[in-house]
Amino acid sequence: MAVVEVRGLRKVFDGGRARRRGSHGRVNAVDGVDLATSEGEYLVLLGPSGCGKTTLLRTIAGLEQPTDGEIWIGGHVVNELPPRARRVAMVFQSYALYPHKTVRANIVFPLKAQGIDKTERAKKTEWAAELLGIGPLLDRRPRQLSGGERQRVALARALVREPSVFLLDEPLSNLDAKLRASARDELKRFQRRVRTTTIYVTHDQVEAMGLGDRIAVMYEGRLRQLGPPVEVYDDPADTFVATFLGSPPMNLVPRDGVLVGFRPEHLLPETLVHGDDRLVVPFQVDRVEHLSGDRHLYGTVRGLGAETRVIARLPVTVTAPVEPGEEHQFAVHADRLRFFDADSGERTEPVSVRTGS
């Protein structure tokens, strides 16, 4: 178990052909990231495709050399160390099992590389196989396994050498939706048991919210926000985080150089919002979607700022009839409002918002 820390990390890729033609094609995949895990933490790197999260993970693993900055694992700078000397274990998106080896040989491989003797190897393999419930599969080849089984074998291979850090690169993305949910649960329980610092890369906010002790949201090579799931969801640092997390995303209404943001689930019929600090707005509904019990209402609000299309999410418990084409009085609690600078997208101080009613 160890703390992983990156300081001022930058990684620049030269585009292959572009190298000869000048600076075109240079990509700042990771553009100055400072990030530290705490002991035994489950840290999730979340961001859209191409935001640099996988590059950051691979740089920590030692598969990429950083252009700038330092990587610390367990109190040592490991920039110069090859992957095998970093005591990290990585699970790849494709699992990268050795196709010509049996499951047993796959799991034993890291132990053999460490030069652990035979009886000890067998013992650890048994332990890892039992922990992940793949005992009966030990003599099979990877191609005889289902996706979920492969994922468990990859985890066992990572686990067996008792690394100081787990690096997981979208390990659930190759599983179908149903399996993904149960595998997510398994992953979390598994990490609770072994208590190893884990860095988990995903573009799936559900995985991030469900798994992470803290979430690091990345965009365009930069760290946008780092915090526990609830904080990242409730108090997004900028409009990117606000709209990337949450489904449907946060509503943003322009008003006098600021963007007023509120989550769809906080825009509710007036009768359900009590208290003095509520803001009542007319909501012109033009479309209703029923999604897993909830109702998503699409429409425009007036009075909060510029007339803007927003989404309201009514929980299944709200049975008030709402039809497309109708206008209803909806309301939001003032303390649910978040304010962002319209130009930079950064969070700003709350401004007073009074509506007509």
Binding site: A61, P82, M90, A96, L97, F109, P110, A113
Partner: protein, 327 residues
């Protein structure tokens, strides 16, 4: 082109579909008319296969059966009339110690060359897939030996290994490693070594390119997983890379073996089988006997010996490839 008689139907006739109710319906046409030549797979298959079938029949099958026929005849360059000679040619060939020498040489040359070709080809392939400046030039230069005609490049080697003017000897002399010339092609041991070296030099690039294809096909993340798992260069090489590319390596070995086994140009140009038949191989011996010596029957009998050996080797390697379980 609309005359249906031009397009006789094969078996079941295809009637034009009903087009009632469509406003701009064209008059019913035979849909098969819309098939172009490129859509007719059966015909195309024959068209494309024909040249290679003609080629194989004319240049492989006919000579092969001719050779079988000649080996049972008393045909010579001076008397081309075909008379049945039974197994006499084979009898004569087996009684000749040069034949056994050639057979032994062929097997030794092939085995040693194949081993060296695979090992050096593997090393070269690893160098070639590495990313460095000017790799295209290096790849081009490496492939040159393979693209040069064997006879031509062997003549270059003939000069390199010349008894008097050999540049190799000159370098060794200047370095003070030898006092007198080596006579590369004049001493049996050195001549055998020289022939093998030329074979290896000629075939390593081919093997390297074949194995390169195999190396490139290994998923990158499998290699990366191995390095994160703690494997160093050699462990990755022997536990991941080589097992995963084994079928390709076997194919490269097969190519190396077949091309060495059947080649007579290197021996013919370099040593003409000498000194005293110490580098004679089956192919060159068959040529000397059958063409230069004029005894076509014996030449054919010797040459036919290549066939079962080659067949056995090819089958053995291909079966091994199929048994390998790497996917």
């Amino acid at each position: 082109m609309t005359d249906p008689a031009l397009y006789p139907t094969h078996g079941q006739s295809v009637s034009p579909p009903e087009v009632t109710g469509v406003p701009h319906a064209s008059p019913p046409v035979d849909l098969r008319e819309r098939r172009r030549l490129a859509d007719r797979d059966g015909l195309l298959a024959w068209l494309f296969l024909l040249p290679s079938v003609v080629y194989i029949v004319a240049l492989v099958a006919i000579p092969f059966f001719l050779a079988i026929a000649f080996s049972f005849s008393d045909v010579t360059a001076g008397d081309p009339s075909f008379d049945w000679a039974g197994l006499r040619n084979y009898q004569n060939v087996f009684d000749d110690p040069v034949f056994w020498q050639s057979l032994r040489n062929t097997i030794v040359f092939t085995a040693v060359s194949m081993l060296l070709i695979v090992v050096l080809g593997k090393v070269l392939a690893n160098i070639l897939i590495a990313d460095f400046h000017g790799k295209w030039l290096v790849r081009f230069l490496v492939l040159l030996p393979w693209t040069t005609p064997v006879a031509l490049s062997t003549i270059a080697w003939l000069w390199l290994l010349d008894s008097v003017f050999s540049p190799i000897d000159w370098v060794l002399r200047e370095l003070g490693l030898i006092d007198v010339n080596m006579y590369w092609l004049g001493k049996p041991d050195l001549a055998i070594g020289s022939v093998i070296v030329v074979h290896v030099w000629r075939l390593v690039p081919l093997a390297a390119v074949i194995m390169m294809a195999g190396l490139v096909a290994i998923p990158k993340d499998v290699q990366e997983a191995a390095s994160v798992d703690g494997a160093g260069f050699w462990r990755r090489m022997f536990e991941i890379t080589i097992p995963l590319t084994m079928p390709i390596i076997a194919v490269a070995a097969l190519f190396g073996a077949v091309l060495t086994f059947t080649d007579m140009a290197v021996v013919y140009v370099l040593t003409r089988g000498g000194p005293t038949n110490s580098t004679q191989v089956l192919a060159s011996w068959a040529f000397f006997r059958g063409i230069e010596g004029g005894d076509v029957g014996q030449g054919a009998a010797i040459a036919l010996f290549l066939f079962p050996l080659l067949l056995a080797a090819a089958i053995a390697i291909l079966r091994a490839v199929r048994r390998m379980d790497v996917s």
